[in-house]
Symmetry: D2
Subunit: 349 residues, 4 copies
């Protein structure tokens, strides 16, 4: 019963098969091969517009370089207090951007509260050098705590960005899970809402290592080839990422694996709701389930072979916990089986 | 006839097979799995000592973070004028280290000349803040131009490092080719000579993406986990690198593929020596062959399907070229066949 | 009636006179002159121990380089939410340190709350690379809002630093004001309490431009000469800073100017307390007075020639404000006169 | 007999007097005062166009921030091999720019050779990420070795910049000396030639600390206020720099002090030419004189009280030295007297 992380799953058989198929033969390095081109075109089709796509090695790289691309002196980027970019990347965005600051904004259920965002941005008057200057807003979709921004939620954030002339970045480490859950298209969830740059993650959803920075407006990406190489993020045998993405997009694999993971999360949530020793912290909307239970119970589940981790309660949700309780995260993936979920459910009873 | 780069080859069937085998099942992420541990132990066996091993995504990352690990304010690292680190990494070492400078040192045949190294270092008097301070020496083995440092050559550089208290880094993008050619052990070519940090490259020699920073003295690596994560170089599904290295080291695969590539380079050299339209620029010692020929001849070879690139003549070897001639690089790999080499030889006649 | 900032005052006549006296003759540049040495020794006397002193150009430089000196990969420094270092330096600490993060800690009246500090540090478990690692704690004395850490308050913070092995930095932009107010010695307020590095500010207290980084343990400063030069902070005609400090310390000038500024602040507080249109936000303890009044009243004071600025209420003190009220800061300096204060008091009546 | 450096001189009496005069009274901080404005306008008059002026603390800061302002990912700036920016700033330009590289270009007598510059730039093909990308050219006027670029020499460099779309920076640490020597106007020597950004130095020519970055096109400076503050280079009591510049420009003081220093250098050169124990390395054109003499003679001069330093021979001029000889630099300033020069001449006989 592995619910520790979607990073614990390996690679989907079709991804593996694609890697094997493309392992043979000589092709140009550093992203100049036909397969690389083909995959870039595939991204354009998927996003229904000309986009610029850059493979990088990790989601942290994608996020950090996206922010680096828009940084300016004294730059301040706004993100949710729980965002990966501010809490789990060891300062990579600050380091790689040359010192940009991440300004945490609160909001319930993992989503930036628009009013708080507006208030945060307004703390940086134009031309006032002492405070620094806003450079971007970053949202995470699906969020760190398994919830989603509805399209209208993204609109609300995007409107604030537009009014301040700020680019809007989306950390899409679990982009497919959000798409599958909302039942919308990539275009609808990104540039049609005002997203300018997307960290497109494939790794958690069945790839080995397939992350990309996607610029919705390719003109804004003209420095990015140098920026990526300078950050040591240009793969020589780039086709190994392209091969993963080719299979990922083939006949909608990516949305199927995401839908499966989401379904497993929903099933897990059902088991938890049915239990008397655990309860949902909030309703899961993608592939992450957060539950509250007494620590002693959690300890016994672990002994019984269930693998999952304790989580620091978000400030906005801290009030949900009773004394003695812990908050626990369970993550599902393409590789999670209904049987595994049900066995866990069995333990909960 | 693909001689453009060893980066144009895909992955060796055994590497591919290992990836497929390890794709199944759940294992801890971020390098905490059993396979990761096992591969780290394998590195220790190979180097005949306790070493600290860190996977990264590219050779540029390995080199840059190695230098970052030893940087100090106003730091200056010394390398050969043709070194990848100074000429082909888009400033990644300077950027990632926070501004270290690379000081190019000349020397014939791609090797740092010890006397010139000593002279270069002596331009930085201790405590003289205006010039900055030496932080490291970096050598490339095999070199950028397909030659080798003999053990005594490394000794000579290491002695200078020791006398100045400087760590010695080896860029081993083609480490296996050097080992196979010299017929020495990894220990003999590294820490027994005075190498402190090694960029260990597997990608060019049959892996998809398998690079590592190896600290010969693990105590010097205690900050490196943070340093790597901060640089966005910590893979989540780290086992995909470990799986490559496992197969790479299995029954000496890595030395076999390297020896094969070297043999193909020697065979290519033989064809060139036998030709009347081309000549060797210098004797190849690993898997890169540099030849001189008239540009018109090169053009016709390209039309006939031979893929290889023109190369800027190193300053120390510029005198070898006759007017009208170009310098060309041909690289062999695990995937190069004798037949391919011989067809090229046929064209040369 | 100039209460906008102690930075609006010029230089004290004795500072001016010292500059004029030292303007003549040739002396070694870059801090190597006799006067530089003499001033460094003076610092040692004042701090009653061997200290290492480095002049820099601004308080921002002093703070930023102090944190840079102790930074490590993924580094996180803790400071009060209102600290200058996090709110008023345009990201200089992050930029100059190569990406260190500043983690704001709350606490009433401008002082870090020890329990919150402990909680904040505990969010960074040792060896957990994703969050980064603590590198330092920084306190401001006197604080941004004109209050003071008592010696016991510093002890409480220092005890936490010690237990986590963290260096403790003091931003002493108004160091002399704190000393004069507490009536303690520099040693008592710094290293005897556990301060490791001090930003020693003279500019606000009557100098033109006299800031220094002071290492209480000179051994920790051995890289700092390179670090300062690399940051473009090594003055060529360094004696012009030394000349200021010489006069500053002569016959206790610095403590007299600070005591005067403090006394003027206390007098101003008295006028405010006596007024019916204004009230003290909190009791001033150094040379900054914060008052609450209706915005309309403030506007009329400004029209009458009183110069002072509105201030964003600290999160911990936001509850003090009534609707319609603004928070205003008034700063006194060596150049503030009792007459000026009393004229302002007159306006308040 | 002080010829060690123009940094060894103190401040000119008129500078000192101006500082004293402006020490009194309250004025807005951070460059917002009337005096600051007035001095900025004075710069515009002097340069005969609208320019943007930013005071910074050191020449190293001016140079480094000028290059930072134009840096791009993988950026490479070209300068003379002897340029201060590459040899004497402890890596500040690389550090502050976030990793820009300085590419040294040779050329006789301290001047970049245009053909070599063209060749150097051409090593960076557009779009080729591995090498990085050119960002700027920097020339030093007067040069590090006391020579000058004639207007036509600047034209030649500027034409290359223009053809490659590169901004041209001038390090004017000794700007006034060059102006006075060439007898041209600031406009003629800068923007009319194609200079885009100027490091304007006043310190070596009689100020205490008066350096500025001057943008010939203010539109290119719109990010610079943040960039300067982020680099900890925004003075609070900014008027102390403005006060220096006000006196500096008053009735042409700056050109008089420069002309005096130049004349003293010429007089010194005459003494050397007349001597049998010393000879000029090359003809001095500003306020630095380089002489060759046997080391033993230099030692005896030092014993007799002449203070000057040995200099590493520039690569292009290394052939001038005979065995046993050293190269020595003598610098004159506003404070050098004819008597001092003649006493030194006496020693030479």
């Amino acid at each position: 019963m592995f619910f520790a992380s979607d990073n614990w799953a390996g690679s989907h058989p079709k991804i593996t098969e694609s890697l094997a198929r493309h392992a043979v033969g000589f092709v140009p390095a550093y992203g100049a091969g036909d397969l690389d081109r083909r995959v870039e075109e595939r991204f354009c089709e998927i996003f229904e517009r000309e986009v610029a796509v850059f493979f990088v090695s990790t989601g942290t790289a994608a996020n950090s370089l996206a922010l680096t691309a828009v940084n300016r002196p004294g730059g301040v980027a706004f993100c949710h207090r729980e965002a990966h970019v501010v809490s789990d990347e060891c300062g990579a965005p600050e380091y790689l951007s040359g010192g940009a600051r991440l300004f945490p904004v609160d909001g319930p259920l993992g989503r930036i509260d628009p009013a708080r965002l507006e208030a945060a941005i307004s703390r940086f008057p134009r031309e006032f050098v002492h405070h620094g200057q806003p450079i971007a807003v970053s949202i995470t979709q699906s969020t760190e705590i398994g919830t989603l921004y509805r399209l209208a939620d993204i609109d609300a954030v995007a409107a604030i960005c537009r009014s301040h002339g700020l680019p809007l970045h989306m950390d899409g480490a679990r982009f497919a899970n959000a798409l599958a859950s909302l039942g919308v298209t990539p275009a609808e969830m990104t540039w049609r809402r005002g997203i300018d740059i997307l960290s497109f993650g494939g790794t958690k959803n069945g790839c080995w290592c397939a992350e990309a920075v996607v610029f919705m407006n390719p003109e804004q990406a003209h420095e990015f080839p140098f920026l990526r190489k300078r950050a040591a993020q240009l793969f020589s045998k780039s086709r190994f990422v392209a091969a993963q993405f080719e299979a990922y997009f083939e006949t909608g694999l990516w949305l199927k694996t995401a839908a499966h993971a989401n379904a497993m999360a929903a099933r897990l949530a059902g088991q938890i709701e049915a239990s008397e020793v655990a309860r949902l912290a909030w309703t899961p909307e993608a592939n992450e389930v957060f539950m509250l239970m007494e620590r002693e119970v959690a300890r016994r589940l672990a002994e019984a072979g269930a693998i999952f981790g304790e989580w620091s309660p978000p400030a906005s949700e801290a009030g949900l916990m009773n004394p003695g309780e812990g908050l626990y995260r369970l993550v599902t993936s393409f590789a999670t089986t209904a049987d595994e979920v049900d066995r866990f459910g069995g333990l909960l009873r």
